[in-house]
Symmetry: C2
Subunit: 121 residues, 2 copies
Amino acid sequence: MKAFLLLAHGSRRTESNVEVIELAKRFHEKNSQQFPIVNAGFLELAEPTIPDVIDDAIKQGATELFISPYFLAAGTHVVNDIPSIVATTLKDHPLVKHHLLGHIGGSDAIVELLLNSTLNT
Amino acid sequence: MKAFLLLAHGSRRTESNVEVIELAKRFHEKNSQQFPIVNAGFLELAEPTIPDVIDDAIKQGATELFISPYFLAAGTHVVNDIPSIVATTLKDHPLVKHHLLGHIGGSDAIVELLLNSTLNT
């Protein structure tokens, strides 16, 4: 069973964290067949934490994790912190597959998304 | 003549700012006919500033600005700071049209972008 985990930095502003959680919900609504488990986790300043959502997904029966760093730039959080936390958390679950996806700022599709945003004005 | 201005927060990490500038370049390469002028500007910690890129676009002949806040969440920067800086900078240019686009985290297309990122693993 596949899980999609959206990992954000976390903010002191509750509204920003809620926006990430809402995005995960929208993702789940559209893709619940492919990803029965979807959750948002935070690196710092908010909960649930990244280990929380990984452990939770595995408890719910996830066998394959798609881990999506919801960051605009490939800073040290994306390059070092998140891979390290994911590896540590998964150490005791050798049978769980995981895919660490690219941060969204690096995707080619972001250019198209920006162009499309100019069409609705 | 249309200009597309990508406005990011700005970071102490040069690499993060460079990534925003590179994204603006990729946008320009793909859409130079529609948007002859494309630039990236920063709210703080990096240059060029937002007034810089607006003034510069107008000097280059832009008559219609598409202003894209490159933020994941609609925090106070997106809701207050950027609209205020844009309005102040454009006060002396009443003939220049502008469109303040939504921040990318709020777009419906982001869900699709996230799904597509799971397909290339």
